[in-house]
Symmetry: C2
Subunit: 408 residues, 2 copies
């Protein structure tokens, strides 16, 4: 195994002890002034070993030979461009093999919460090194660099790569998870049909890109709204990825519902279990109230619910409980129309996959509500037929407007 | 021990299975429409136990008898106003006794990251139940409610109370930690002396309030800038709290410096240790670059550094390493002026307290840089003499401007 000089950092001299010597090597890092950054001096005492050291013959980071092919990291960011022997660390620290996680809308507020949770190890565990692949728009590239800088500055030990880019065919390369958060928000006066089309095109393109370059068993979680229909579009454009791997986020609805039910029941929310969100994610109700109070949409709790949704797939579901997630209807036992993405109760063994909970029984009231949600999703599906390969779109969404301007 | 009916939630009937029955009891919760929230039906099957249940004779939450006095929670929020027997849970789950954590500037962006980290258990550990006391301005009270709603919706098991308020004498009651983040940002054209005075008055008042109502051994971390001088003002107004308990956050500088040094050295940042930030927190340099890239200040990484600063006090410092924090100079071995808040290398046994690392030796270069930082802090101290009980203020801050408009 090739050990680069970078994996043996405890070299001897000279100690960096003046801020003026810090002229940074990264092309993306501009700051070379550290007025208040005063590093430890040369002298070491018996009690305190000072290990901030720089090798005299320090080389620029080099590409690592990986399976015979030179790995180039064109889009890597700052300190994450450094080459080091992660395999050795994986062995030394009993770490798992690094996973690649793509996040779209990476410069947005939900991602600004989510990325730091992913990087901290609180989602995939303290033994799972992580590479983050950040997808943004041309317009957001500076902000993406800002996010990458903040991730660097957070010194998360498990975060080993941060790449930024605007082309899903590059960013999605080999990703094992794709968290698709970015979507155009609905502008004032915009028709729902227009929004469906604009966002649908984004998710059609991302589906194609995932199909072409992602890990064949990539798990895809669609957050950008309308998330059920966006997820359907995405999976239809990724025929080589199992349709079962695509999810639409309804966990925020589940969490909110659990909290409200706890309030109603006069118990703490940890006493509420077996909550099912059937059908589609709703952007109205509590989300709207939050925007009104808060002046912005609920980024922090949305990020928490994304974490919950991922954890539900990578940890075994507690005995007797289930979780809700929007999944592809293909042989569902509830008589819900096939070929939709519809939220249903699921369980997981923790391997990233899930099974439907098949024995929840409906009464007429629930049946009726589910049918309404089903009808909404069927109507949305007809609007985006041109994006799913189902022919010519016909859009009649009816008078019910479930989507709020400003809600992501 | 009194068990309220709320601690026995697994009552029998009727099951809530229609969204129309959800009319919420909390006065702060307005939404009563749950179009897409379709709860599990009455019927339970052999495989799936449905435990969303509401007792028929459900009572409104009542005050718990606590040490003979009725505990009223005037400012509590939503589901956190529920009364339940936390002591029983502490025993059942081997939880520690709940701690009260105050956060000022709670509606701001740094807090929006920090509060969720505190509530998730990632700072104080998975066995530490937490009460969050959110201090904001009158102007921000709606946003505080929004934050509380998002905390509710996140269903953090360890988060047991959220109180919101605008009066530090109420919010700081019995707090064991006070994270003072709120400060007025510097407006365009504002003189540094004016900013020092405006923020100084805030921290003088908060110091008085902590002195009057907080836990006698409260730990105080000042983040609002200029944090060193604000911390000095705060501790001077809290004579009954040990001066050693006050900290000014220089951990963000430490983290940024470690990252930059790693880049320079060509090693991953986890190889850099024993970094000392001497003197005052600097709001320029990388922070300024981030604002430029990102369009806002670095809330996420600041929150991470606050977490790091707290963890450094509540977990033992790794052998041979240290961390930087701005502390009260009282008998320091480095000849730095006494009666300042100055960042120095420290170690902790993990009990919330710390000791200075006393044997770092300076060369002339470092001595000179430290003297400059010392002179800046002495000048700031003279500007706020009217707030520290040191007589009449005299303000001559010199030409060096370390504070950037827009940086928090």
């Amino acid at each position: 195994m090739a050990m680069t000089e970078l994996s043996t950092p405890k070299t001897t001299s000279p100690f960096l002890h003046s801020s003026s010597r810090l002229s940074l090597s990264s092309k993306l890092h501009l700051s070379n002034q550290f007025r208040h950054l005063l590093l430890p001096p040369l002298h070491t005492t018996s009690n305190s070993k000072i290990s901030c050291s720089v090798s005299q013959n320090n080389q620029a980071p080099v590409a690592v030979q990986d399976n015979g092919s030179v790995k180039t990291k064109k889009e890597c960011y700052g300190v994450f461009c450094l080459t080091y022997d992660l395999k050795a660390e994986e062995e030394t620290k009993s770490w798992k093999k690094m996973i690649n996680i793509a996040v779209s809308g990476a410069a947005g507020m939900i991602s600004n919460h989510l990325l730091f949770k992913l990087a901290s190890g609180s989602v995939f565990g303290p033994d799972q090194p992580i590479a983050l692949k950040l997808l943004g728009s041309e317009r957001s590239i500076q902000a993406l660099e800002g996010v990458a800088m903040e991730l660097e500055d957070s010194l998360f030990p498990l975060l080993r790569e941060v790449d930024i880019g605007t082309d899903p065919y590059e960013v999605f390369q080999d990703v094992e998870w794709a968290l698709l958060i970015g979507a155009k928000p609905r502008g004032p006066g915009m028709e729902r049909a227009a929004l469906l089309d604009i966002n649908g095109q984004i998710f059609a393109e991302q589906g194609k890109a995932l199909n072409a370059v992602a890990s064949p068993n990539v798990k895809v979680l669609v957050v950008g709204n309308p998330c059920n229909t966006n997820a359907l579009i995405c999976l239809k454009n990724a025929p080589n990825i199992p349709a079962k791997n695509f999810h639409a986020l309804t966990r925020l609805d589940e969490n909110r519902a659990k909290c409200q039910l706890a309030l109603k029941a006069g118990v703490f929310y940890d006493k509420v279990s077996n909550m099912t969100i059937w059908g589609n994610h709703s952007t109205t109700q509590r989300g709207g109230l939050l925007i009104q109070k808060w002046g912005r949409s609920s980024a922090a709790s949305t990020a928490v619910s994304i974490v919950d949704a991922i954890k539900s797939l990578v940890t075994p579901t507690p005995e007797g409980d289930w979780f809700s997630t929007g999944v592809y209807t293909n042989g569902n036992p509830y008589g819900i129309a096939e070929d939709l993405v519809f939220s249903m109760p699921c369980r997981s063994t923790g391997d990233g996959d899930y099974e439907l909970v098949k024995d929840v029984e409906f009464d007429d009231y629930l049946r009726n509500r589910i049918s309404k949600s089903e009808a909404e999703l069927l109507a949305e599906k007809k609007c985006v037929a041109h994006l799913t390969g189902d022919g010519i779109a016909f859009c009649d969404l009816g008078p019910v407007d479930t989507m709020l301007p400003g809600e992501v």
